[in-house]
């Protein structure tokens, strides 16, 4: 049950998208988001949605997985849609009853806002679905490395992130195990009032913290005994390398921004 968390989950695969350099994927998502915020009319949204669908198709990520990732956002999406629907009062009136007025502009903005959120979230999900967590942090470290000139602890930050990501599944598994062990002793995590349920979490949280500290300690010792001393002069087993298709991917993403800007002039 705890295992059902999809946030940042990676779906292993070997598609073209999977094999792209993590840096080009991170940059492409950023460019895509810029394009999303520039999009103002139906045509440009259609263009952006089509681009994402092509990526989904190439990567063979199941659309069901994307929908599952979107589910927690359902409330925000619906809320945004309703807010825009009822608060925008310009344009031709489609429907009015008592104090509620729905206009053409309202409907249009509501649809665009929903599309914007869904595309934004889906594109970032595509990044984490097709990029292994370690590759993602390597990519981030490399992209942020110019900040080292300002003495920003970029390597330490990336290392912390990779360790955190590496241990999320381990801790989830551990939490699952401890939960089962306490359930076997009759612990009840599901029923009761809020205060009771909060108290019922103690038998889970205390052992979980104890073991997280133990693991942190063991990991620190293991790293030091292998002479880890920070990022200075450290080389990599897997060098990141931009290939031709990475540049092509970035070029296509940038083309999206240009396309959206050009489409602004087109009126339907």
């Amino acid at each position: 049950m705890l295992k059902d968390i999809t946030l940042g989950q990676y779906f292993p695969g070997n598609s073209l998208i999977h094999r792209l350099d993590p840096r080009s994927k991170i940059l492409a998502v950023l460019i895509y988001i810029v394009a999303l915020f520039l999009a103002k009319n139906a045509l440009s949204y259609a263009l952006l949605a089509a681009a994402l669908l092509v990526c989904v198709a190439i990567s063979r990520v199941k659309p069901a997985a994307l929908f599952k990732g979107l589910k927690p956002l359902l409330f925000i999406v619906v809320f945004t849609a309703l807010l825009n629907l009822f608060y925008i009062r310009t344009g031709e009136v489609l429907f009015s009853w008592w104090k509620l007025v729905i206009t053409v502009d309202g409907v249009q903005t509501a649809i665009f806002m929903v599309l914007r959120i869904v595309l934004l979230v889906s594109s970032t999900f595509m990044l984490t679905y097709t990029t292994a967590p370690m590759a993602l942090t390597d990519g981030l470290e490399s992209l942020l490395s110019p900040l080292k000139a300002f003495h920003a602890p970029v390597h330490e930050f990336a290392m912390m992130m990779s360790i955190a990501m590496r241990f999320i599944p381990t801790l989830v598994e551990e939490a699952d195990k401890i939960m089962n062990a306490q359930k076997a002793r009759g612990a009840d995590f599901e029923n009761g009032r809020l205060t009771e349920r909060a108290k019922a979490l103690l038998p889970l949280l205390i052992p979980l913290f104890v073991s997280a500290f133990r693991r942190a300690d063991e990991l620190a010792v293991a790293m030091e005994s292998r002479c880890y001393h920070g990022g200075e002069g450290r080389t990599r087993l897997k060098q990141l390398k931009m290939a031709a298709c990475d540049w092509l991917f970035l070029l296509l993403s940038s083309a999206l921004v240009v396309g959206v800007i050009l489409l602004k002039r087109v009126t339907l």
Partner: protein
């Protein structure tokens, strides 16, 4: 009537995702009241998955688990009942300790059963006695005990619920030989005193062969063999193929029999074999 019966029990983890894995498939097992069963299999053969079905922690993907003839997954009440009547000690149970004191930790299960204070106290002392924990540790924090003692506290925490079936998942993993022996002795003592059914999970033959009446061998998620230790050990080759060895003393006894010596095949420890050989020589000790 059998205490526990599984019918075509199958469990698939993460079904419907790319990570789906079939942990056990089509397991049919009947275990009668009072039996002492050893559950053996290589790591990953599905032992832990199987035992977590017995008290309803995992729900079958298909098939059913019957406790005294009723399906434990048929209602919430029956499932809650199964939690208490089938006590499950997990692998490395010391990682579940959380209370401030040993006493409170052992009392966690009985407290969840909503028993009275008097009754809880009685059970905690009794359970601590079974696993050989002195009263002097009752007020100490479980986190500052030694590994072996932590494990005893965790086992006592389950015994204190007085389950009629006690399931232990690799209770001796990671303990020194002395610790192993004394925990196994505690378990047999508990069985002799209460008549409870015991299911002991292990990947090592040496551990269970001596004390179990019956061995069930898991391989690749299904039952490969089921019988008395003697019956199972007579299939040495097959056991070897699935990565399990038989106890050294048994192997030696079997070889001696091949050579025409009349030692019984049911020798599981060196001292049993020693006694058998001595008695063959007419009891004359050298």
């Amino acid at each position: 009537m059998p205490t526990i019966k599984t019918q075509a029990l199958t469990h698939i983890y993460s079904s419907g995702t790319p990570f789906k894995s079939v942990a056990i498939s089509n397991v049919n097992v009947e275990i009668a009241q009072g039996e002492f069963v050893g559950l053996i299999g290589h790591t990953g053969s599905g032992k832990s998955t199987f035992v977590q079905h017995l008290n309803g922690l995992l729900e079958p993907s298909s098939g059913s688990v019957l406790l005294d003839g009723v399906d434990i997954n048929s209602s919430k009440r029956l499932k809650a009942q199964a939690r208490f009547s089938v006590g499950l000690v997990f692998q490395y149970p010391e990682y579940q300790l959380f209370e401030e004191t040993v006493y409170k930790d052992i009392a966690f299960g009985p407290k969840n059963m909503k028993l009275g204070k008097q009754e809880i106290d009685e059970r905690v002392r009794e359970a601590a006695g079974f696993v050989g924990l002195p009263e002097s540790v009752f007020e100490r924090s479980p986190l500052e005990l030694s590994g072996g003692q932590k494990r005893r506290v965790a086992i006592a925490g389950v015994i204190a619920m007085r389950p009629s079936v006690l399931v232990l998942d690799e209770p001796t993993a990671g303990l020194d030989p002395d610790g192993c022996r004394s925990i196994l002795k505690n378990i047999t003592d508990y069985r002799d005193a209460t008549g409870a059914t015991i299911i002991l999970v292990s990947h090592s033959m040496e551990d269970v062969a001596r004390i179990a009446d019956r061995l069930i061998v898991f391989h690749g998620g299904s039952v490969a063999m089921d019988g008395t230790p003697g019956e199972v050990f007579s299939r040495t080759e097959e056991l070897g193929r699935i990565g399990l060895g038989i106890p050294l003393a048994t192997e030696l006894a079997l070889r001696l029999r091949e050579l025409g010596t009349q030692v019984p095949a049911s020798c599981y420890t060196v001292s049993q074999l020693y006694d058998a050989i001595i008695s063959l020589r007419g009891g004359a000790s050298c």
